[in-house]
């Protein structure tokens, strides 16, 4: 549906309201261009900003704890970027996190933003459709639709990775990964090779023996990911 020429004045009006609500400061020019009292438009500004700010802060509590006073400025900057592109209000949490991650962050904040936004995304993600084949080490694996692999590598800090997923009871869990486990997960979901073959490739690349300890790591990880609803087998 395209705007008709007749409605261009209405479109301009709505753009002015958008700026009043999202700009760092509502401009006198925009307020003067709108019908009705400027004070009442500022009431809308406060309502819009309060709703989104609360939702974002509630969904990312540890990230905001790390940001401290800077958290307020981060939300202000996000709103001023007109970054609320999704019609689903739940997505503003993810939009904010992505926006904040574009700015310089400490390794700890980058990790926490990734972790908390992944938990949020998994909680609200769609369900997998249809039954998957039985899981085994001979299956080619993929992530379920309600799971995410996250990894953060920043100078001056050790790399961190985890699988965040939602299980059949809708519980979202985080499985932190060691370097070996990270390599295994990456290989398992790369596609094309069964989990066992992919694991042997990882062992070769890392120069690790496929011994009882390696098998134990592999089996424990796979069991954890299956229990968490994180992976499923692809059709052969």
């Amino acid at each position: 549906m395209s705007s008709s020429p007749e409605s261009s004045a209405l479109a301009a009006y709505e753009s002015a309201v958008l700026r009043v609500c999202y700009d760092r400061r509502a401009s006198d020019a925009d307020l003067a261009s709108l019908d009705g009292s400027g004070e009442r438009w500022l009431l809308y500004r406060r309502m819009v900003r309060r709703r989104l700010t609360r939702m974002i802060r509630d969904a990312l509590p540890q990230s905001f704890k790390l940001m401290g006073d800077e958290g307020t400025e981060a939300v202000v900057a996000f709103l001023a970027s007109y970054g609320t592109r999704s019609r689903f209000i739940r997505d503003c949490v993810l939009e904010f996190a992505e926006h904040r991650l574009e700015a310089p962050t400490t390794p700890e904040l980058a990790w926490m933003l990734r972790l908390e936004s992944a938990k949020w995304a998994c909680r609200h993600a769609m369900d997998d459709v249809g039954d998957a084949p039985e899981l085994s080490l001979e299956a080619v694996l993929s992530f379920s639709i309600s799971s995410q692999f996250i990894s953060v590598q920043r100078a001056g800090a050790p790399p961190r990775a985890a699988v965040v997923s939602r299980n059949a009871s809708h519980r979202v869990t985080v499985r932190k990964l060691t370097a070996l486990e990270t390599a295994l997960v990456r290989a398992w979901v790369a596609g094309g090779a069964a989990a066992s073959a992919a694991s042997r490739s990882v062992a070769r690349e890392l120069g690790v023996e496929v011994d009882a300890a390696f098998v134990e790591v592999m089996a424990t990880l796979l069991t954890d990911l299956v229990d968490a609803g994180a992976v499923r087998a692809l059709d052969p």
Binding site: S3, S7, L10, A11, R87, A125, M126, S146
Partner: protein, 274 residues
């Protein structure tokens, strides 16, 4: 064919949905959902909807396709909405007569548009355009507004202008009529008198907040006030039996407290509609 919603319903709030589904209180006759909270979403919310649908009929109420918006909805959303409405067997769908997005940025709130002929033309065209794509009748909801301008036409003329131009249905929000009538100084009963009864498919009723300066804010966070109850009765006497939703979206009380209000509304409903 799905059962049609009728009588008093409530929103399927996650705050009490499990308890509601477990207890199945007889005073709740149907429930309302916002498709935006279910489309492209699974997990607990999808399960909640499945469980509630097994017990009650439902109505759907949109939040993001407001009739004053200009932007074309992104590819796929209207198809997804149409599929959702078909899946849940929605008898109709409703949206707000206001705008909630501009320049592809969503405000996630309901902002008033000028009550002008230009806005009528735009909203009616959008109402027809959306309706043609979702597969069910579309109703518009009158919204509360905190701005007013002397150059604007009256609210009821504006609402009726869009309804006539689009041949649309109306979701009459009684609390919004009361809020606007009080804030902007018009006669709420005269508004109700001018509502085209044959177009009304649903009513909303809610609580509101009165600020110290007298301005009423449509919060959906308080109990319904007696003046709104009176207006509800007046509207019901004119319109007759239709689904009525008790809206409560913030400061959600315990379910038992909410059910007291549902029963009060049900008593008025039964007195008027038999």
């Amino acid at each position: 064919m799905a059962k049609q919603p009728l009588g008093i319903g409530i929103g399927l709030r996650p705050d009490f949905a499990k308890e509601l589904i477990r207890r199945q209180p007889e005073e709740v006759r149907w429930f309302e959902v916002h498709p935006e909270n279910y489309v492209r979403r699974g997990g607990e919310s999808a399960e909640r909807l499945r469980n509630a649908r097994a017990l009650w009929p439902l109505a759907t109420h949109g939040l993001s396709l407001c009739l004053g918006n200009h932007a074309t909805p992104e590819a796929g959303y209207l198809d997804a909405l149409r599929d959702f409405l078909a899946e849940v067997e929605a008898p109709f769908h409703s949206e707000h007569l206001c705008f909630c997005a501009s320049n592809n940025a969503h405000l996630h709130d309901l902002l008033p548009i000028p009550r002008t002929q230009e806005s009528i033309d735009h909203a009616a065209a959008r109402m027809r355009w959306v309706r043609d794509r979702i597969g069910v009748p579309l109703a518009l909801e009158n919204v509360s507004a905190y701005v007013e301008d002397e150059s604007w036409m009256s609210e009821i003329d504006f609402v009726n202008g869009v309804l006539d131009a689009a041949d649309g249905r109306l979701l009459l929000d009684v609390n919004n009529v009361f809020v606007n009538a009080t804030n902007h100084g018009f006669d709420a009963r005269a508004y109700i008198d001018a509502v085209p009864v044959e177009r009304v498919v649903q009513m909303h009723i809610a609580g509101h907040l009165v600020r110290p300066d007298g301005l009423i804010i449509d919060t959906h966070a308080e109990s319904v006030r007696s003046e709104v109850f009176d207006l509800f009765r007046y509207a019901l006497e004119r319109i007759g039996p239709i689904p009525v939703l008790l809206e409560r979206d913030a400061k959600i009380p315990p379910l038992d407290e909410l059910l007291i209000e549902v029963r009060e509304l049900g008593r008025v409903y039964d007195e008027v509609c038999g």
